[in-house]
């Protein structure tokens, strides 16, 4: 097991190199660029100063040299400074990370707890009313573009009904609130973003759990469990549940990229002060160091999540033993 974990940890590095290389290539191949957006449009800036700036940021060097420079700095844990405000990239990410983690962890927990609940309930009464209603809802969940759902909910709950705040993480007067009020305020701000972030995943997980559970319930060992005289509840929630939830652990790892990808969109829609919005803003202004920093951290977190999911799977499934 230890050896396996080590191997997987080491494998993170080649994958990270691949991801950063591709990100790097894409942002540099995109038409436009830092200097064109921020200077060439401006008639007051002379071509001379543009060239000087390029030299300053090393943008005049060949691409592969730029990438290697970047890698050698990152190896020293130096992600550089933002082109826009000259602040260290790490600082910028560091202050945005908690908001993103908060939103995504709550969504993830919700997706799995509620998704598993719905899935199991649908499987136990397969074809029943609850199952049918859930099929329709999850079908909607799959097919609705979630950014559209987000806008719709914002209009309904934020503009028409005025029940929920539609942007940001806290209200203006947050600093002057009592601790209880602060928590309440945060929760209110969380409701819409969490719901929208979780909705698609919820649909997916609940259908997956349902089919996994239905499949398990048809197994021979479930018949054998009934034949031993075990009560139905024990058979379903002990004998069958463990078998059908094992593959779901792997999904936990697989759902991370989707969540991170979703963050870019939803954080921007809801003005959520997280990493996704930071990446979006940086992309608009061709702030290369920040884009690269966010991409690296996001990739690292995803890979780590996958690894944790795989290890958890190996720990709970007795049939899997890694060498």
């Amino acid at each position: 097991m230890g050896k396996y974990v080590l191997k997987r940890l080491l494998l993170i590095f080649p994958v990270l190199i691949g991801i950063t290389l591709i990100t790097f290539a894409i942002i540099h191949l995109t038409p436009g660029g830092y200097t064109s957006v921020n200077m060439q449009m401006n008639i007051k800036v002379s071509p001379d100063s543009v060239a000087r700036l390029k030299t300053l940021y090393g943008l005049d060097k060949p691409l592969h040299t730029q990438y290697l420079d970047w890698v050698s700095r990152v190896l020293r844990f130096d992600f550089g400074t933002s082109f826009i405000d000259q602040r260290p990239v790490m600082d910028k990410i560091y202050e945005r990370l908690p908001a993103t983690l908060l939103l995504n962890l709550i969504s993830l927990v919700l997706i799995f707890i509620v998704g598993i609940g719905i899935g199991v309930a649908s499987a136990v009464k397969n074809g029943g009313t609850f199952d049918k209603v859930m099929s329709v809802i999850t079908f909607i969940g799959y097919s609705l573009p979630s950014f559209w759902l987000a806008l719709l909910l914002m209009i309904l709950f934020g503009v028409v009904l005025r029940w929920l705040p539609v942007s940001g993480m806290v209200s203006l007067g947050f600093d002057y609130m009592s601790p209880m009020q602060k928590i309440g305020d945060l929760i209110l701000h969380l409701i819409l973003p969490v719901f929208v972030t979780a909705f698609g995943g919820l649909a997916y997980i609940s259908r997956y759990v349902k089919s996994s559970m239905v499949e398990t319930l048809s197994q021979y060992y479930i018949k054998a469990a009934y034949a031993k005289g075990m009560p139905e509840k024990t058979v379903i929630y002990k004998s069958a549940l463990k078998n059908s939830l094992l593959p779901v652990i792997t999904l936990l790892g697989l759902s991370l990229p989707g969540l991170i990808g979703g963050s870019f969109i939803f954080e921007t829609i809801f003005s959520w002060p997280g990493m996704g919005r930071l990446a979006y803003e940086s992309a608009l202004s061709f702030d290369y160091p920040v884009i690269m920093g966010v991409a690296t951290i996001a990739a690292f977190l995803t890979l780590l999540g996958n690894l944790i999911a795989d290890i958890a799977y190996a720990l709970v499934d007795p049939r899997i033993r890694y060498r």
């Binding site: 060992y221 034949a227 005289g229 075990m230 463990k242």
Partner: protein, 321 residues
């Protein structure tokens, strides 16, 4: 002697797209306490369905009628609680494939102890473990400490089947059903498991129902043989050799089985196939494969009739020589 099992006019049909599979039709069977009987027949003739019906655990698409009484308790109409009490505690069952009947993600210990707990409530841990290990000893397992903590995939086929037997006996049932307990095993292990079942039958004074397609094995284990064909009982009686059998199908089954010691294991297959189980024609089900069939057999369905004390046959022309 008192009948521990009484089956009357038991019919089980599976609903499928193409219609109904008549898995069991009008089955009549009485089994006395402490008896060892064998149910014999080719694949697909309804043996496992009969075993499942005895604990009212047939598939959800099954339609069942008739009565099954265990110790005078009607099973087919019984409620959940009654069934839970009977399953495992009055009737233990060993399935065709132990590998598939054991839950892959729980240890042997967990699977034995959960059965005991289901019937006797929560016992002290050491007491549970003591009982579990004693069961493994009774089923002839060595290396018990390891096997007790092992997962099913860490055991050999023979060990899995012994564990299955231990589970089936864990709540001291009076009746043990063994549904082809050795089909998935190789010949030497088969013989060991059979010897074990024989011993357990004697030691625990079990009522044993052995289900098999091997008539020789059946004759070796049981005092009474029940032969099934296409969902019907076609013969029942004390059969210990070929000439005791009176139904042409039973005779054919005797010839079917090769000598285990024979070099080439070429089975002599009965010509023809088991009839389509979704149709019920007015003729003998064995008509078409029967070597001694006469015209009448193709126009009427024979009744199940007593030919002598303790012996009944479903045939217009029982073989008598």
């Amino acid at each position: 002697m008192k009948n521990i099992i009484e089956i009357q006019n038991l019919t089980v049909e599976y609903k499928i797209k193409e219609g109904l599979v008549h898995a069991l039709t009008g089955v009549e069977l009485h089994i006395q306490k402490g008896e060892a009987i064998a149910i014999v027949g080719e694949s697909g003739c309804g043996k496992s369905t009969l075993a499942s019906a005895l604990i009212n655990l047939v598939a959800l698409n099954a339609v069942k009628s008739g009565t099954v009484k265990i110790n005078d308790m009607e099973i087919l109409s019984a409620g959940k609680k009654v069934l839970e009490n009977i399953r495992g505690k009055e009737i233990g069952i060993i399935f065709q494939e132990a590998g598939a009947a054991l839950n892959p993600v729980f240890t042997v210990k967990e699977q034995i102890e959960e059965t005991i707990t289901a019937h006797f409530g929560k016992l002290e841990k050491p007491e549970l473990e003591k009982r579990g290990l004693a069961l493994l000893e009774e089923t002839g397992l060595n290396d018990r400490e390891r096997i007790y903590k092992a997962y099913p995939h860490q055991l050999s086929g023979g060990q899995q089947q012994r564990v299955m037997i231990a589970i089936a006996l864990s709540c001291n049932p009076e009746i043990l059903i063994a549904d082809e307990p050795t089909t998935a095993l190789d010949v030497t292990v088969q013989a060991q498991i059979m010897a074990l079942l024989k011993k357990l039958k004697k030691d625990r004074n079990l009522t044993l129902i052995l289900i098999t397609h091997d008539l020789h094995l059946a004759v070796d284990m049981a005092q009474r043989i029940v032969v099934m064909y296409a969902g019907e009982i076609v013969e029942e009686g004390k059969i210990s050799q070929e000439k005791d059998a009176m139904h042409p199908y039973s005779r054919a089954l005797f010839e079917l089985i090769p000598d285990i010691n024979a070099e080439a294991r070429d089975f002599k297959i009965i010509p023809g196939e088991v009839p389509d189980m979704t149709t019920k024609e007015n003729k003998c089900r064995f008509f078409g494969r029967c070597a001694t069939a006469k015209p009448k057999c193709g126009t009427m369905h024979p009744e199940y009739e007593k030919v002598k004390e303790g012996h009944a046959v479903r045939c217009f022309y029982p073989v008598k020589d």
